[in-house]
């Protein structure tokens, strides 16, 4: 058992009746002030724990030193707990009974599979308080972390033994509340190894809502298909001849019935390697106004070294919105680039538009896609700090 005096920093062997000195504090006295003081009591999961020890540990990655702190907590009935903090991310851990099994580079403990996060050589930089084993500044251990957020499994290998502990991510504010500390906990930096993703929690309910709304949209679309007229009211071929016949055409009157709804005008031409612009006017027979639309039809085809190609199409269509019932004529004023052209006009009333369903499904999927993207970004940040980053930095690589 090791006791470190918080006043003078000396490390003592508590099993020796004379408290033999293990190591004297070589640093500057009075500079170590744990954010959670030794002796502080806090409640976790209904039990009160006292802070009996404090460690600062260091490891090196990419030539940079990184630090984390560990508080040893004790409850006479529950035993010891570890409260660790690194970059504002907290974990409450306890020693595991039994030995986790290795699996696919990770570990399995109590049926939960943990993915390997990182392995490091950790060194003790600061010791304060009392510990149930011998610990001293400079002591080195190999620490491996395995994660299954919000749980984390740690393996620590010293010179003589291997110990495992399992912990769970804690919000720093809960730690501060548990100990009744003033101020705020250290600010979080990045994503913690065991920090649960807030996005995956949202994904389930959002996907369920998407499914329900998608079914509602599909049923609504089927209802529209069943109720709409989708009726052809006119279909006719015309000849355009700039040198002889009339260039503007007028259809015979046709009747549009039912509530105000769309009118689909389809244009079919015999154009090839040509274009035509169609001015269309839907004119009401007995008083009222007209609705004008314009469509361009162009169709080109040929063959080159890559084989046959086409561009555009010899047909086009346009939907005239919200046309009230009544008798109408369609006036067609084509402006083709060719002196002669055959074309047909087909007019249909109250036509369902499948594109609306696809558009609605696309809009409904936006939150799901956004959550998946944000969740992936969160995981990317988590694993960037690990031994298994999703993207490996190429800085400093030899250009040769």
């Amino acid at each position: 058992v090791t006791v470190v005096c918080s006043a003078c920093g000396a490390t003592l062997d508590a099993q020796d009746p004379d408290l033999a000195l293990i190591a004297a504090w070589e640093g500057k006295r009075g500079t170590i002030q744990p954010p959670i003081p030794l002796g502080a009591r806090g409640r976790f999961k209904g039990a009160s724990f006292e802070v009996v020890g404090y460690l600062v540990r260091e490891y090196e990655a990419d030539g940079q030193p990184y630090f984390w702190t560990e508080y040893l907590l004790f409850n006479p009935h529950k035993g010891f707990r570890w409260l660790t903090e690194g970059s504002g991310h907290w974990v409450l851990a306890h020693a595991v009974r039994g030995r986790p099994e290795a699996a696919d580079g990770g570990a399995v403990y109590l049926g939960t599979r943990y993915r390997h996060y990182q392995t490091m050589m950790a060194r003790v930089r600061v010791v304060l308080g009392e510990f149930p084993w011998r610990v001293r500044v400079g002591e080195q251990t190999v620490v491996s972390d395995f994660v299954a957020p919000p749980a984390i499994l740690s393996r620590e290998q010293g010179e003589q033994e291997v110990t495992w502990s399992v912990g769970e991510h804690l919000d720093g504010r809960l730690v501060w509340e548990a100990f009744g500390l003033p101020g705020a906990p250290p600010e979080r930096q990045g994503v913690g190894p065991a920090q649960p993703s807030p996005w995956w929690r949202e994904l389930g309910p959002t996907a369920t809502a998407f499914g329900a709304l998608a079914v509602a949209a599909a049923l609504l679309h089927l209802l529209a298909l069943a109720l709409c007229q989708n009726r052809t009211v006119l279909e006719r071929w015309f000849e355009y001849d700039r040198r002889g016949g009339p260039t503007s055409m007028v259809t015979e009157p046709f009747e549009l019935t039912g509530r105000p709804s769309n009118v689909k005008v389809e244009i079919f031409t015999d154009l090839a390697n040509n274009w035509a612009y169609f001015n269309l006017a839907l004119v009401r027979e007995h008083g009222g106004g007209a609705i004008e639309v314009g469509r361009e039809v162009s169709y080109y085809r040929g063959r080159d070294s890559d084989g046959p190609w086409t561009e555009g199409a010899p047909a086009d269509e346009v939907y005239v919105p919200r046309v009230p019932a009544g008798h109408y004529r369609l006036i067609v004023m084509p402006e083709p680039s060719t002196p002669r052209m055959r074309y047909a006009i087909r007019i249909r009333r109250d036509v369902p538009r499948h594109a609306y369903l696809w558009g609605a499904l696309g809009l409904l999927a936006v939150p799901v896609v956004a959550i998946v993207a944000l969740g992936a970004r969160f995981e990317w940040k988590r694993w960037q700090e690990s031994d298994h980053p999703w993207v490996t930095s190429t800085d400093g690589e030899d250009d040769d």
Partner: protein
């Protein structure tokens, strides 16, 4: 859910009302002389020179 309900509602409204995103020009009143002789109608799109194609 609010966005989804709005989307499904908009889908139903678009179907029912015959809404379409295509731009159209509405002419409020066509003179009787033109309605009786539709061939004399001149579109407000008329006279444009289409420069599309090859």
């Amino acid at each position: 859910v609010a966005l989804g309900a709005f989307t499904v509602g908009a889908l139903g409204w678009a179907h029912w009302s015959g809404w379409s995103p295509e731009p159209v020009t509405e002419v409020k009143e066509v003179p009787r002389s033109i309605r009786e002789n539709p061939g004399s109608y001149r579109s407000s799109y008329g006279g444009r020179t289409f420069m599309g194609g090859k």
